[in-house]
């Protein structure tokens, strides 16, 4: 567009905004705590992933008597998935429940809601249209 360069000049300021470039933040007094917390979060994910594979293998052995890598990759089962989801939430609570001290962490799986920052903000899906 004709005014591309005018716009570019107006946008010079953005390079100084926080977040324009990737940061490397530290949130604990000792930066090693940041790293160790990250490691435990990731490591528990790998443990969970292994556990899932065991559970799938056991399920396949019990129901079909054979297991192959292809069969594991293709495996889908709604009731297995639901059970596994419950177990995953318990797994997370069990390992990380202590992190927030006595703050009780209820489950809220609408990941958009928190961005409003407002208690009682309505979900899009239950608000009525204009």
């Amino acid at each position: 567009m004709g005014d591309r360069s005018a716009l570019e000049a107006e946008l010079e300021y953005v390079k100084d905004l926080p977040g324009f470039s990737r940061t490397n933040p530290q949130f604990f007094s000792d930066p090693m705590i940041d790293k160790l917390l990250e490691i435990t979060l990731l490591m528990a994910g790998e443990i969970w992933t292994n556990r899932d594979r065991h559970m799938v293998m056991e399920h396949l052995l019990a129901t079909e008597g054979v297991v192959t890598p292809e069969r594991i990759e293709a495996f889908k089962d709604e009731s297995f998935a639901q059970r596994s989801e419950q177990q995953r939430l318990q797994f997370i609570q069990r390992i990380f429940g202590c992190l927030y001290g006595d703050i009780d962490v209820p489950e809220d799986r609408n990941h958009f809601r928190w961005l409003t920052g407002k208690e009682g903000a309505q979900d899009t899906t239950d608000s009525h249209s204009p």
Partner: protein
């Protein structure tokens, strides 16, 4: 998506599945980790942290110093806020890394897939392989590696990434379908042409086509990887939608008085103010008299009567450490006033309306 080294795991809805079950399982875990250790505790951790930040006299501003002052209070006095921020940052990086790594194993096959869908229908896609992106658009928003424009598979990555980011509401495009169902129509009810600006992977665009099957539906986005993948995704759903690579500030290249309905979902907080201003002017021109503009975005100064929510802990950490550099200026701007200044009449706005933050504007009829 076939690649002889990996078994075909099919799709999750219109989205290609992860390359291995292990990747999918890990990402399900990350999504739940974020629910339990980030979304839920935020309700209690944020107010407490914000009180301390305010008591320390820190004014949250969009400067590196102000952000570092917030982090410093977190380090000295707020270990729970530190946990929240660390979980946020580490899980955000972890899910992008895993998504990119997993799809990356089949990168050639996905590139071929996009080349094929470029040439296929229903619908169409138009993009420019030589497009030069402005610097502001190259930011790695939400820490996505390469951002929206820097990698040919950015659309594919964003699609799976937002499944993790959005949690349950993203499944089966639930959120976008729910939004499309509520998008207001012009007062005279005529909806023949629709433009969905900053359509990314085209979820809202396709949901609008589903709701208005007779209408000609367009989605535009600055990013070629986004519109190309959006077109692939629309084909997967059998939807006849047209995608166009075009920056919102450049939409003045399209004919005036042309569209009945223009939508824009969560673009404005992700672009600098001068881009928002030009976009508003362009939309006014694009709409026919009586046409309707629907904007869904964060609350801003104009419709956040209970005080800006995007400040203190969330404002500092999300903007700086989750790369949302333009969100602070958006929430401090008065979008409602700008819309009215551009000529729109504001039909409705509701700051409590989650995800909609409904701003519905009409372009007056001639003589109105």
């Amino acid at each position: 998506m076939l690649n002889e080294d990996y078994p075909d795991r099919g799709n999750v809805g219109p989205t290609p599945a992860m390359t291995s079950r292990a990747d999918e399982t890990f990402l399900d875990y990350i999504a739940d980790l974020r629910s339990v250790l980030m979304m839920s505790p935020a309700k209690k951790v944020h107010p407490k942290a914000n009180a301390v930040i305010e008591a320390e006299g820190i004014e949250t501003k969009a400067t590196a110093e102000s952000v570092e002052a917030v982090r410093d209070v977190v380090r000295r006095k707020l270990p729970e806020a530190g946990v929240w921020a660390r979980v946020y940052r580490s899980t955000q990086q972890a899910f992008w890394n895993r998504v990119c790594e997993s799809y990356g194993l089949r990168e050639d096959a996905f590139l071929r897939m996009l080349e094929e869908s470029d040439q296929s229908g229903p619908g169409s896609v138009e993009w420019d392989p030589d497009y030069v992106y402005p610097d502001y658009a190259k930011v790695e928003i939400h820490l996505q590696p390469g951002g929206y424009v820097g990698h040919p598979l950015a659309g594919l990555r964003y699609d799976y990434g937002t499944r993790v980011f959005g949690g349950k509401v993203s499944e089966n495009d639930y959120l976008h379908k729910a939004m499309a169902a509520k998008v207001p129509t012009p007062r005279d009810g005529r909806v023949e042409r629709i433009m969905d600006i900053a359509c990314s992977v085209g979820k809202l665009t396709c949901a609008l086509k589903e709701r208005f099957p007779q209408a000609e539906v367009w989605g535009s986005d600055i990013s070629a990887p986004m519109v190309r993948y959006a077109h692939y995704r629309a084909i997967e759903q059998g939807q006849t939608v047209h995608f166009l690579q075009k920056a919102a500030e450049d939409l003045d290249a399209l004919p005036a008085d042309h569209f009945d309905l223009v939508t824009v979902h969560i673009l404005f907080h992700e672009v600098p103010t001068p881009v928002v201003d030009r976009t508003i002017a362009n939309v006014y021109r694009l709409l026919r008299p009586g046409g309707t503009f629907w904007i869904s975005d964060f609350p801003s100064l104009g419709n956040d009567p209970h005080g800006l929510h995007y400040t203190n802990l969330l404002g500092a950490i999300d903007s700086a450490d989750n790369s949302e550099p333009y969100a602070p200026e958006f929430v401090r701007s008065n979008v409602e006033a700008k819309l009215q200044k551009a000529g729109f009449s504001l039909r409705y706005e509701n700051p409590a309306d989650m995800n909609v933050h409904g701003r519905v504007c009409d372009k007056p009829m001639k003589g109105e």
